[in-house]
Amino acid sequence: MNALNFVPVWTLILGAGIFFYVLLDGFDLGVGMLYNFMPDTRSRNLVMNAIAPVWDGNETWLVLGGVALLAAFPLAFAILIPALYFPILVMLLALVFRGVAFEFRFRDAEHKTFWDHGFFYGSLIATMAQGMMLGAFIQGFKVEGRVFAGGPLDFLTPFSVLTGIALVFGYGLLGAGWLVLKTEDDIQARARRYGCVCLAGVVIAIVVVSLWTPLASDAIFRRWFSWPNILILSPVPVATALVAWATWRALGGASQSGGFIGAVGLFALSYIGITISLFPMIVPHHYTLMQAASPPGTQAFLLVGTLFLLPVILFYSGWSYWVFRGKVRADVGYH
C-alpha cells in the first residue's frame, strides 16, 4: 500500500498500554488482595475507597490492550486469545466480582461478607490468571498456519504457575506501595509490613524466572549470555538489585511514595527483561511483530486518532487522579 512502516510506533503504543494496565490495575488488584488482611470494617472501607474513584479507569487499559492488539496485530490476537481460553475466562469472571464489589458491598449490607470475599478472591484469582497467561505466553503455543492448534489446558505448566504466583506478589507490592501513599497511621504501618513480605516474594520470583527462562530456551540464553550482549545487558540485573534494595529501605523507613515508586521500577525492569528475551516475537516462536501486523492502512487510520487521543486521555485521567490526591479521606467515597 505504501512504504511507511507503522509497526515500531504501534509496538511502542501497545507496549506502553500493557505496561500502564499492569501498573494501574496492578495496584488496584494488589489493594484488593491486601484488603483481606485488614483487621476491621473501618480500615477495609478506607482501603477500598483508596482505589474506588480510579479502578474503573485503570481497568480500561485492559480493554485498550485487547482491542489495540486486535487492530494493530490481529493475527497475534487471533492466536493468543483462543490459546488462553480458560485463563481469560477465569480472569474476566474474577474481574466481574472484583468490579461489582465496589458498588455492591456498600449497598447490600445483608451480603456484605459475600461481596468482601468477591473482592478479595476476585482480585487474587484475576492476578493469578494474568500471571499464568504471562508465563504461557513466554513459553509459546502450538500454532499451525494462522491458528492456535493446541489444547485448552496447554497454558497450565509449572512455569506458568510460578509466574502466576510471582504476579500475586508483584501486584501485592504495588498495592502495598499505593496504600502507604494513600493511608496513614495503623493502616499504613500494615501496608509497609505487607509490602516487605511481597517484596521478598517478588525478589525470589525474579531470580527464579531469570534463571529458568534462559535455561529453558536456547534463543533466550543466547540473547542474554552471548558476547557482547552479556555486557550490554548487565545493567538490567544490576539495576533490578539496586531498585529492590531501595524499595526495601523505603518500605521500612518513613518515605510516603518510595515504596510505590520502587515497585513501579521493579515492574519496569522486569518488563524490559521480558522484552529483551522475546523481541521481536509477538507470538513467541512463530510470528514477529511485523508478520502479525495489520496493513499500513489500518495502522495509519488508528494512529491518527490515537496520537491525538492518548495525550488527552493521559491529561484528564491525570486530572482525575489529582482531584483525589493526598491521603484517602473517610468522607470521600462510599460510606
Partner: protein
C-alpha cells in the same frame, strides 16, 4: 463429542451480550439525563434538580458498574470464541473497537470517579463537566460499536486479499449503509427506555405521595421528552426497515415470514412459521399492508425466502416474533404518551392513579423492546457474521471443542445469574429509598445556591490535601 461448539459459542455470545446490552440501554440515556439535571441545577439554582440528580446518580452507579465489568468481557469474546472472525475482519473492525475504547471508555471511567465522589472536591461547574463528559462518552461508545456492528450487517469500503478483509475507504467503512439508521434507532431506543424507567419511578413516588415535587418534575419533564422521542423512534424504525429491505432482503423476508416473492403482499400479524414446508400456519394477515409498510406503495414487492438457498436463510420464527414484540411495545409506548397529552390538557397529569399504574407497568418494557430489536437484527443476520461474506460457522476459533464452550457458557450463566439479580435488588433498594429529603453531605454546595466563600473554602481544602 456431540456438542456443537458453534451453537454453544453463539449461545454464549447471545448470553453475554444480551445481558450487557440492558445496561447501555439504561446508562446511555441516564448519563444524558444526569448531565441535563446537573446543568439545570447549575443554571437555575433550583435544588430539586440536584435532589433528582443525586437520586439517579446512585442508581446509575450500580448500573454503570455492572455495565463496565460485563463490557470488559465483550472484546475478549471475539478472540476466545471467534478468532477466525478476528483474523479475517480484524484489519477493518479492529480500529473501530479501539476507537471506542479511546474516545469513550477512558472518558467515562475518568469522570465517573469525579461524578460519584468529587462533588466536595471540585467546583460545581467541573462537576457538571464531569457529567457532560460521561454523557458524551456513552454516545461516542454507541457511535463506534454500532458502526462496527453495522459494518458486519452491511459491509462496505473493503477489499478481499487472501480471504481476509482489507480496508480501502475508511469513510465508507465507518459510515456504511445501515449505520446512520442503526445508530439513530438504537440510541433513541436507549433514551426511550431510560425515559420510561424514570416515568415509572416518578409515578411510583407520586402514588406513594412521597417526594412529590421531585416526582412531578421527573414525570412532566420526561413525558415531554418522550412526546418527541417515541414518534421519532417509530419513524426511525420505519426508515431502518426500508434500509434493511434494500441491503439485507433475507432478513426482512424472515421478519415478515414471506416465503414467496409477490407484489401487493399482506402484513402477517401472527403466524407459526413452518420452515420445513416453507409456509406459515395459522396466519392472520392484513391485505396490502405489508407492501405499504415495507415499500411505501400498495403494489411493491420484496424477495421471499424461497429466493434464497436454504443454507443462506436466517431462522424465521425468532426474528418474526421478536420484531412483533418490539413494534407492539413501540405502539404501546405511543399510546401512553398520547394518554399523557390528554391528561396534561385536562390538567390531571399529577393526580390520575390509573395513569400512575400504567406508567409503572411500562417501566421494564423498554428493555424488552431493546432486547427484541437486538434479537431481530442479529438473528436476522444469520447465517453470517459479516453479511454475505463470512459465515458464522467459519468464524469460530478452530481450537475449540464443544466441551470447552459448554464449561465457559455455564460459568458465564452462573456468574450473571448471581450478579444481575443482586444488581436489580440493590437498584430497587435505592429506588425505594427515594430522593433524599435534604441534600446529603455538605449543605452549602448542595442547597442549590452555592455561596461563594464556602465554596472557595472547600476548593482550598481540596488543594491542601
Amino acid at each position: 463429542m456431540d456438542l456443537d461448539p458453534v451453537l454453544l459459542s453463539r449461545l454464549q455470545f447471545a448470553w453475554v451480550i444480551g445481558w450487557h446490552i440492558l445496561l447501555p440501554a439504561f446508562t446511555v440515556g441516564m448519563a444524558s439525563y444526569i448531565a441535563i439535571l446537573e446543568g439545570m441545577h447549575l443554571v437555575t439554582g433550583r435544588s430539586v434538580y440536584l435532589r433528582i440528580s443525586m437520586y439517579w446518580i446512585r442508581i446509575f452507579s450500580v448500573a454503570f458498574g455492572v455495565g463496565v465489568v460485563t463490557g470488559v468481557i465483550m472484546p475478549f469474546q471475539i478472540g476466545t470464541n471467534w478468532s477466525r472472525y478476528a483474523d479475517t475482519a480484524g484489519n477493518v473492525l479492529g480500529p473501530l473497537f479501539a476507537y471506542e475504547a479511546l474516545t469513550a471508555f477512558f472518558l467515562e471511567a475518568a469522570f465517573l470517579g469525579v461524578l460519584l465522589f468529587g462533588r466536595k472536591l471540585v467546583p460545581p461547574w467541573a462537576h457538571f463537566v464531569a457529567a457532560l463528559m460521561i454523557a458524551s462518552g456513552t454516545l461516542f461508545s454507541s457511535f463506534w460499536i454500532l458502526s462496527a456492528n453495522s459494518w458486519m450487517q452491511t459491509p462496505a469500503g473493503y477489499e478481499i486479499v487472501d480471504g481476509r478483509f482489507f480496508p480501502k475507504d475508511w469513510f465508507a467503512i465507518v459510515f456504511n449503509p445501515s449505520f446512520p439508521f442503526r445508530l439513530t434507532h438504537t440510541v433513541t431506543g436507549f433514551f426511550v427506555t431510560t425515559g420510561f424507567v424514570v416515568v415509572a419511578v416518578a409515578a411510583w413516588l407520586m402514588r406513594k405521595g412521597r417526594s412529590v415535587e421531585e416526582g412531578r418534575v421527573m414525570l412532566s419533564m420526561t413525558l415531554w421528552l418522550l412526546t418527541f422521542l417515541v414518534p421519532l423512534q417509530i419513524f426511525l424504525g420505519d426508515q431502518h426497515g426500508l434500509n434493511t429491505a434494500a441491503h439485507q432482503p433475507a432478513k426482512v423476508a424472515a421478519i415478515e415470514a414471506r416465503w414467496d416473492t409477490q407484489p401487493s403482499f399482506p402484513l402477517t400479524l401472527f403466524a407459526i412459521p413452518d420452515p420445513a414446508n416453507e409456509t406459515n400456519r395459522y396466519a392472520i394477515e392484513v391485505p396490502y399492508l405489508g407492501s405499504l409498510i415495507l415499500t411505501h406503495s400498495l403494489d411493491g414487492e420484496i424477495k421471499g425466502l424461497k429466493e434464497f438457498k436454504p443454507e443462506d436463510r436466517p431462522p424465521v420464527a425468532i426474528p418474526f416474533f421478536a420484531f412483533r414484540i418490539m413494534v407492539g411495545i413501540g405502539f404501546l409506548m405511543l399510546a401512553v404518551v398520547a394518554a399523557s397529552w390528554w391528561l396534561r390538557y385536562r390538567g390531571r397529569l399529577f393526580d390520575s392513579p390509573w395513569f400512575f399504574w400504567l406508567c409503572m407497568a411500562m417501566g421494564p418494557l423498554g428493555f424488552i423492546a431493546v432486547l427484541a430489536g437486538w434479537t431481530t437484527t442479529e438473528v436476522g443476520r444469520q447465517p453470517w457474521t459479516v453479511y454475505g461474506m463470512l459465515r458464522t460457522a467459519d468464524s469460530m476459533s478452530p481450537s475449540l471443542v464443544g466441551g470447552d464452550v459448554l464449561v465457559s457458557l455455564l460459568a458465564y450463566m452462573v456468574v450473571y445469574l448471581i450478579i444481575y439479580p443482586s444488581a436489580v435488588l440493590i437498584a430497587a433498594g435505592l429506588v425505594r429509598k427515594g430522593p433524599a429529603l435534604a441534600p446529603e453531605t455538605v449543605a452549602p454546595i448542595e442547597s442549590g445556591r452555592p455561596s461563594a466563600p464556602i465554596n472557595i473554602e472547600l476548593v482550598q481544602e481540596g488543594k491542601t490535601l
